[in-house]
């Protein structure tokens, strides 16, 4: 690009003269006819040199000179003042104003051309030097470690970040790159250099150096840099140490977490197994003496007519209590087993209806309530739980329904379904004594019995067992009721697994 020169003079003839002097030297010439427009134009075109007439109306050459020197952007443009005033005080004023040179009118063509050429060359050189300093500073201060090597890996130069990274013990320049890395990393770098990278950095390679706490990880990008006939290689090292350490810490943490979880799971399994064996042991050991107690009390109860009148109710009550205790022990054992067996096998589709019909005929026998009518509102949705679970849960719910509606003129117990497809909900509804809606949470708690249950037999364990069992299979149980208007128990169970899901399960099992 040819150097630009701005010529400023209020007289057209002077402009023409200067243009004629310089036109053959290949400069791009710009003109201004007063001081103000000269400054405006200088800001616009950034000339390499300004030739400035001193004697101009309004803003004279000295004023223009001072204003340009004060400008942060165009302040360093070289200026030559041209004037007819050839006295020392004018020269002094011109130098004070910041002019590089002072030429007298009329100008000598050869002198003008020589001066202009010299100043433009110097200025171009100065600009290059400034730019170089700027880039060197960028290179030195870059947070990325930058190293320039020849194709054999000999280091020509390295920036401050590179020295800090892996040149702590000795200067990098002049040494071979591979001597600063352990063998594996040195081999990786050697291969990358030998692969003759293009001018664009290709795939980065990962290397590490140092040991233990001081170990550092880098991602290295390589690019070829032509330098005369030689090809140099620039290596840019991005420090990944922090990322790698964070990742390692996370992995360690995860591994630790897995250990904790598996240890905790083992503890829970042990605790569960212990609970079951403890419950079996306790119930067995309690049952033997209870056999004796219940047996003799039964015999005494038979002989009640022969006893004194006050003893009879005592024996009857003790006998009744032995029944209650038997039931209680059975429930505790059942509870332990149900919790232990919470996780069952694959959830194939089970049609609950035949199971429920079998249960109804069984409930009629064990809880005789000849008046009760059982109604099944089919069809019922297929469910994803075992028939055993359905049997256990609904035996309890149906027995309860029969029990709590026993005093109605016409007890009706209904079984039906509600709920969305994919979330089957079965319900058991009776028209019995019901319960207070505020009690519905207590209903499923262990050993809690509600006020309305007062007249019927029971321990309050049944529903809590049912609830645990349903929840252990991923289901839900809840109830709605109004006192005196019957109760409805809802059981939501998982839907059967899809054929695809079952196939996947079978594949995992294999």
């Amino acid at each position: 690009m040819s150097p630009r020169i701005l010529i400023v003079d209020d007289e057209e003839v002077n402009l023409l003269t200067l243009e004629a002097f310089l036109t053959a030297d290949g400069y791009k010439l710009h003109f201004a006819r007063d001081g103000r427009s000269a400054i405006t134009l200088a800001r616009e075109i950034h000339p390499d040199l300004i030739l400035l007439d001193v004697m101009m109306p309004e803003l004279d050459g000295f004023a223009v000179c001072r204003e340009i020197r004060a400008d942060p952007v165009i302040g360093r443009i070289p200026l030559i003042l041209i004037t007819a005033l050839d006295d020392s005080s004018s020269r002094l004023e011109g130098l004070k104003a910041g002019a590089e040179e002072f030429l007298s009118k009329p100008c000598d063509r050869a002198e003008l051309r020589a001066r202009v050429q010299t100043i433009i060359s110097l200025n171009r050189f100065r600009a290059l030097a400034e730019e170089r300093i700027r880039f060197e500073r960028l290179y030195e201060l870059s947070p990325a470690a930058i190293v320039l090597t020849d194709q054999a890996g000999q280091i020509l130069t390295a920036n401050r970040a590179a020295e800090a990274c892996f040149g702590q013990d000795r200067p990098l320049s002049g040494s071979s790159l591979s001597t600063h890395f352990p063998p594996a990393a040195a081999a990786t770098l050697h291969d990358a250099l030998a692969a003759a990278p293009g001018p664009d950095s290709g795939h980065p390679v990962d290397v590490a150096c140092g040991e233990g706490e001081g170990r550092r990880h880098f991602s290295v990008r390589l690019a070829s840099v032509p330098e005369g006939l030689e090809t140099r290689i620039m290596l840019v090292f991005d420090d990944l140490t922090a990322e790698v350490r964070a990742r390692e810490a996370l992995q360690k943490l995860n591994a630790g977490l897995e250990d904790i979880v598996s240890a905790r799971t083992k503890q829970l399994e042990d605790a569960n197994a212990l609970l079951v064996s403890y419950a079996s042991f306790v119930s067995h050991d309690l049952r033997s003496p209870l056999t004796v107690i219940k047996g003799y009390l039964g015999l005494l109860n038979e002989m009640a007519p022969e006893m004194p009148a006050p003893s009879r109710p005592m024996v009857a009550q003790a006998f009744q209590a032995s029944h209650t205790m038997t039931e209680m022990i059975g429930n505790i054992l059942q509870l332990a087993h149900d919790i232990h067996e919470g996780d069952t096998g694959p959830r194939e589709a089970v049609d609950p209806e035949p199971v429920l019909r079998r249960l109804i005929s069984h409930v009629r026998q064990v809880a005789p309530n000849p008046k009760a009518a059982f109604v099944v509102h089919g069809p019922l949705p297929a469910v994803g739980v075992t028939a055993v679970l359905i049997e256990r849960v609904f035996f309890n719910l149906l027995t309860n329904a029969a029990k709590y509606s026993a005093e109605q003129a016409q007890p009706v117990i209904e079984i039906g379904t509600t709920g969305l497809p994919g979330e089957p909900v079965l319900f058991v509804r009776d028209n019995g004594v019901g319960f207070d809606a505020g009690d519905s949470n207590r209903l499923f708690q262990e050993f809690s019995r509600l006020a309305t249950a007062g007249k019927t037999e029971g321990l309050g364990l049944g529903l809590s067992l049912v609830a645990r069992l349903v929840r252990s299979q991923g289901g839900k149980i809840w109830a709605e009721s109004t006192v005196g208007r019957g109760a409805t128990f809802f059981v939501q169970v998982p839907a059967p697994a899809t054929p695809a899901g079952l196939a996947a399960l079978a594949a995992t099992a294999r």
Partner: protein, 124 residues
């Protein structure tokens, strides 16, 4: 009705003896373990055996199997008594040849009902 009780727990044998007496048993013998029970069963040839399931040494299940292999005891009715109860246990007992299962603790009405089921005594 000639009955044999096999149970390792003395007080349990006593109370069952009383219950059986009230249920119509005329001759009652007792054994405290499986071996003694087998010997008595072969010697006495009772109509009914009340057999505890969990005993040290030979269990009720072992005794049951052994007796079922004895052609001389074909008419013996076996009722197994146990504190442990589960469908699996019941299935094992049926397979071993037991006639009925009685869950401990049992009361007089339960014993009577069970005896009625074996057909030894008429239902009341």
């Amino acid at each position: 009705m000639n009955v044999l009780i096999v149970d390792d727990d003395g007080p349990t044998r006593l109370v069952i003896r009383e219950q059986l007496r009230l249920s119509g048993a005329t001759r009652i013998r007792e054994a405290a373990d499986g071996d003694a029970g087998l010997a008595l069963a072969r010697a006495e040839r009772p109509d009914l055996l009340l057999l505890d399931l969990m005993m040290p040494g030979r269990t009720g299940l072992d005794v049951c199997r052994e007796l079922r292999g004895d052609p001389g005891l074909r008419n013996l009715r076996v009722v197994v008594l146990s504190a442990a109860d589960s469908p699996l246990i019941r299935a094992d007992l049926l397979e071993a040849g037991a006639d009925e299962f009685l869950s401990k603790p049992c009361s007089l009405p339960e014993i009577r009902a069970t005896l009625a089921k074996t057909g030894i005594v008429p239902a009341t």
